[in-house]
Amino acid sequence: MMAPRHKIRTRVNGRIVEREVEPRMLLADFLRHELRLTGTHVGCAHGVCGACTISLDGRTARSCLTFAVQADGAEIETVEALAPDGPLDTIQSAFHEHHALQCGYCTPGFLMSVRQLLREEPDPNEARIRIALAGNLCRCTGYVNIVKAVQTAAKRLREESAEA
């Protein structure tokens, strides 16, 4: 059952890491238990709930459906990269103001998905936001305030980029 380990080298939140891992180790487990980046959560391990969403080479990915060895040579960002210290980023602040999180378990996945959405579509309407976030499940908020937070964040990010 114990398979030979493979050496992988990736950049995680800007830091180069090298580790030897079993080929079957999930990327989510690698991030959480090898690197202790426990902000990324596992809610279903089947790619349905989106709690494990990370950024892999600039695109969102389900870290529960990705093996750590697949991330060899890749650039990974997790929720911990958004605002490691200092003020919350624009999306996080909007989530805070609008009470868009309750238990907080799904929140890191939502933040990563929202970031991707607003990079691709700076001005999504409500219907578009709801469809774009349909791959992230939340059992606490009923999504009402998440949608509001995304609208607020989108507006602020547009203003910020207009100023820049």
Partner: protein, 798 residues
Amino acid sequence: MTVDGDHKGYIGRAYPRKEDDRLLRGYGAFIDDLPEPQDTLSLCFVRSYYAHAKIVGIDTSEAEALPGVVAVLTGADFTGMIAPMQADSEKPGYKPTSREAMPVEHVRFVGDAVAVVVAENPYIAEDAAELVEVDLEALPAVVTIEDALAEDAPLLHEEIGDNIPFAASFESEGFQEAFDNAEIVVSDTFRSARLAAVSMEPRGCMASYDRGKEQLTVWSSTQVPHLLRTGLSELLDWPENAIRVVAPDVGGGFGMKAHIYPEEVIASALAKKYAGTVKWIGDRQDDFLTSTHSRDYRYEVAMAVDRNGMIQAVKNRLHVNIGAYACFPYGCSAEAGGGAIYMPGAYRFPHYSFQTSSVLSNTAPVGVYRGVAAPIAHFAAEGLIDRAARKLGMDPVEMRRRNLIQPEDFPFVNVVGIRYDTGSHVECMEKALASIGYEDYRRDQPEGRLSDGKYRGIGVVAITEHTGQGAARYRDRGLHRVPGFDSAFVKIEPRGHVIAYTSHATQGQGHLTAFAQIIAENLGMDPKNVTVIEGDTSLSPYGSGTFASRAAVVGGGAAYRASENVGAKLRRIAGHHMEVAPDDLELVEGAVRVKGVPEMRMTIQEIAAIAYSMESRMLPEGESYGLEATDYYDPPGVSITNAVHAACVTVDAATGRITVERYAVAHDCGRVINPLLVAGQVHGAVAQGLGEALMEGVIYDEEGQILTSQLLDYLLPSAADVPDMKMDHVESPSLDTVGGFKGAGEGGVIGSVPAIVSAVNDALLPLGVFVNKVPMRPDYILNLIESANAAGEEKRKA
């Protein structure tokens, strides 16, 4: 929001949460995020693959030979180590049954644990679990309510003689006469699917034993740390002072995590056995198989109404499928009892009769889940109001208006003796109708309800929510293992910082903010200077924990009283030194000052230094050192929250698919502590109710195999399924509770199930059909539409 004259404004303010920052940064610490001590052992449970079976043999040799496996244990290994989990009750009609944490001879549902692997890491533990050979001899299985009640049904727990561990009944005096004399009677049998709570974080626990100190620490994703500690002490026969339970960040619970589970007991026993740390993290399949399910009801209900639409009498015959075991520590009467008690909600029922029972089956145990029986009790009652109004040719909203509890009825005692101290049923009705635009909707509703291939309907329902139940209610319900009270310990430290510990545990409700607001208000300081800590039995005084919408009422009341006591001491010390009577002092902006003379003041830091003997001034004679108070709060009864929910739906005539297009709630949970948090509770619960109404359902086949064991099979509402919601807060402060608070956790789901159903009933009016089952999946709705069309066709031909 009402802010009265001398209101300092922290209670009632939309204060953003103190909890958020770390959760947004990814610095939360849920059970599987906690640092593991070195050499932590992982558990993986091997579970029964039959619904009902005798254990013939279990071969663990191959699994034990796997490198990295420490041991594989079976039920026999725990005999004498773990006492049976017997959830007894003092309620008449209750027959106690028992559950072995790990059965030795007899398994009763798919998921019952038959062995546990202890290994060096979770990957190896899972590999080894696959290698355990379990030989089971299948027994006939009972799956549905009908199976359980059949004359020759196999018995789940032979010692009780049947499959009915709880039954109760009630009939108001003069019921039969009132029922018989009413002009019309409407009736139906209402069914609801079995649900899973599906907190996004599955269950898990970690237990660590300190061999030298003989102390066990258990971190668990639980809603009830104190009850878990008492339960572990009882089941393991260890002293309570050798056990500490900590609930870390908990990723949702909804009642499901308010039970004590075999995995928590087994992990604790194994931590001691191996004198180390043992960890079990359930995956989603464990969760669907073994975490408590809910609902799974059959309500046979008849409503007798006079020609003016006034409800005269309601007859409720209720069965609840409670699964294979009574839950620990509550037992199995909550659902059946609740379904009976909750039905007379927002309307005046002069007469009522119920017969209710819990039935056992070879399915996962059913426990409390957000709303308990109320969503379906109201689905049945509101469904009958829809039918009666149709029969009488009356607008369904008009019939509801006539039957609502009126402002002059308060304090109102309903037919089963529940007291409503205050409420706003009529005001909420008018607000919700305005918010959803009822009159305009009716005016614009298409002829025959059908346009663009979609039937269009609106539903408006009035509900109540039983919140903040105290000791008296739990005694009355026979649940002697639920204390009913909660507690708070509020302390000002020597340098003036405030810290408070409460007996609650939060799963996302925002307690750390809400309780800080209450304490801040009573101590006259900013909530940002108040730190609230929950979930650790070694820090907080005893209490019941967080379930049944009790935190705001009971924990809020305890925090209110404890902080008032600390405030009184601040005033006594300051009064002594300022030579002013304490009653002439007020706590404002971090200081105690003379009313009307704001420049005469002492800061809280100054007073704290005196209280801790850290400056030259002395405490008044007879005053003890320190600045702290512990207080308990036990509300006198139950706080009744009320709401009106309104939904607009479309029903696709070709596919049967229902879409909820608009939604409005007018909600009254008494004095609001934080409107952001209340709205969040309602939004989330409405979405859960939408899932219950439209899609969710655990499915067992006729042999008791579970067919929905992943989120791929069990549909949850996504952002694309849930509409925006309009919300009105009405505040009728409770007269019976400290602070005037009522609970808000469950009303959303209680209202949204019947509201969405009622809207579908309205949409399908031209077909003359009514919904009597949830979820209303497309196949069910399409079948209703097609049968109605076929019947219409027959009629035309005839």
